[in-house]
């Protein structure tokens, strides 16, 4: 199970890096999304994957079962998912704002405004 997940992490990172290196902004965004999925899965795999009981104490007992899953990586992944969701949403809004065409239907070229001497 860990092996399959590890390979998945590798594939996600590789695809993500490939896309981030493209010239199209949209591919960069998708690449970042894939890398963030890869990072989340990496935390999960690094924390250890096992088929055991959930870390919840049954009614009437004070301790969870002897063999129980580590809840912490799950909490970390949950936090990381929420954060990367927020950042990616911001990024997509930013890209759509930048690529908005003007009245003539043209998207402005990104020239360096300070490259030439003013005026």
């Amino acid at each position: 199970m860990s092996l399959v997940l590890s390979i998945t992490v590798g594939v996600l990172f590789a695809t993500g890096v490939f896309l981030v290196l493209r010239r199209s902004v949209l591919r960069v965004v998708i690449g970042l999304a894939l890398i963030s999925h890869g990072a989340n899965l990496l935390i999960f795999v690094a924390g250890g994957v096992a088929r055991v009981a959930p870390p919840v104490a049954a009614a009437g007992t004070t301790a969870p079962p002897t063999q129980h899953a580590d809840p912490l990586p799950q909490a970390l992944v949950l936090t990381a998912i929420v954060i990367s969701f927020g950042v990616l949403a911001f990024l997509i809004a930013l890209v759509s704002r930048i690529c908005q065409p003007d009245a003539a239907g043209q998207v402005a070229d990104d020239t360096d405004q300070y490259a030439e001497v003013r005026p």
């Binding site: 970042l32 990072a39 690094a46 924390g47 129980h68 990586p73 950042v87 930013l94 001497v117």
Partner: protein, 552 residues
Amino acid sequence: MTWLVALPLVIPLAAAAVGALGRSGGAWQRWVSVGGAAGLLGAAIALLVEVDRVGHIVLHVGNWHAPFGIALVADRFGALMVTLTAAAGLWCMIYALREQRPGPEASGRPERPFLLPMMNFLLMGVCGAFLTGDLFNLYVWFEVLLMASFVLLTLGNTRAQLVGTLKYVVLNLLSSLTFLSAAGIVYGLYGTLNFADLGRATAVGGAGGVGASPEAMAAAVMLLVGFGIKAALVPVFFWLPASYHTPSFAVSALCSALLTKVGVYSIFRLCTLAFPLQGEALRESGVLAVLAAVSMVVGVLGAASQQQVRRILAFHSVSQMGYILMGLAIGTPAGMAAAVLFFLHHAVVKSNLFLIAGAMQERTGSNHLKDPAIAGLMRASPLLAAAFLLTALSLAGIPPMSGFAGKLGLIASGVDAGAWWLVGIAAGVGLLTTFSMVKIWSEAFWREPGGEAAADGHGAVTPAAAGSGGLGLMLGVPVALAGLTLVMGVAAGPLAAMCTRAGAQLADPSAYITAVSPKRASEVNAAGAAAEAGGERPVGNASGGETGRAAP
């Protein structure tokens, strides 16, 4: 007194939330935001005084004790940084009182709604990063401050800002993801994310010691890369000059004072506290020294090639980060102390230069040195010229300003440690820094106005842009800060003594570790195995006997 540690997080959050309820730019928002920053400064000073007295203040959030819960820790270094954050927040907000309003049409100053509350959110994130004692929590604070800075950089909605922010977001997101992956690996390896507990685990070197394993080095280097991007060190600094020249001047000043500092601060924590053996190895192999030297040189050369004031300043930030890292690369307590002093000096001076650039823009409508409109500032505003001169000399390290005290400490400790080539580079870069400051001085302040403009006929500044009114706070804040850098240089004694105590704590983290968690997590586990809940080790963790976090 442990609640003092929580105040620097609670005050900016409350000020931001309450301030955001008011009308954008209205009196309510102004008073609440600036009042919040002033309250934060008061709380930070109280924290600093108390920390200096007792050494460490630890707050176990929710009373879950470290290493299981998240600990907020203030040592002298952290408390100094929080005080600096609060002070920088206050002066940038006072300056922003004028900048948040839209300027006259020709000045090109757009409306920036909710500028002040967002600055308070940023302060909360930065304070959190300086106070947390937990690796994953540090990641969360990084994201809090990044989110706030994303919004601050885009406020105003000009195209240049949006494009600059895009580069900023993408590169910082990559850095966060590197950091996040490293945090996952660290948890897998050691079963703990608490700095103190981690430091204890990785300090076990030698044959069979976990600290000597290649995995530990891999994790440390991944963290170094993540923090290095945030700190804008040279191979990975490109986001900084691409974005810092676009937003409002107060935001440029605040970001330059704080954001890169958080990255360098984290590198200090990484190399001294969390991974002491790896930090030592990185230092001895010269990796840190090379990073510092290359940052210093490339940053200053980049600055020399630029003609736009804020771009010059942004490149200088890269160069100055190299100086701070040089303190860590030297690695002696004196070197660390000098680096801490340099942190304080650089935040004051660099943010002041950005604020002065804002006043130049306000006065002349231009920020480009080849623009004829910018010439003759010496006559137009002698007070601004004096403030610039003092601050620029301080950046270059001329006595008696604070830059001299900072650089003297670094160079002296470098000489003591025998790092001659590093010292030579630092001194040479100081000379080049002077060169690009003189460039701004001679083009913008000394040059007689009107010469070229009259020649080609269309360079004259539009009267509306050349803010005919007084500069008000946009002049008052830079003058006060120029005075501050002078005072920090002339009366450097008490400050340097404080930094020396902070440097001693950094160089020997054992007191920090004892203060945060008296026992190794595995010992706590073993002791509590028979007792109540949480005694059983979670099997899901791959790290076997080194498991740190049990289900509480």
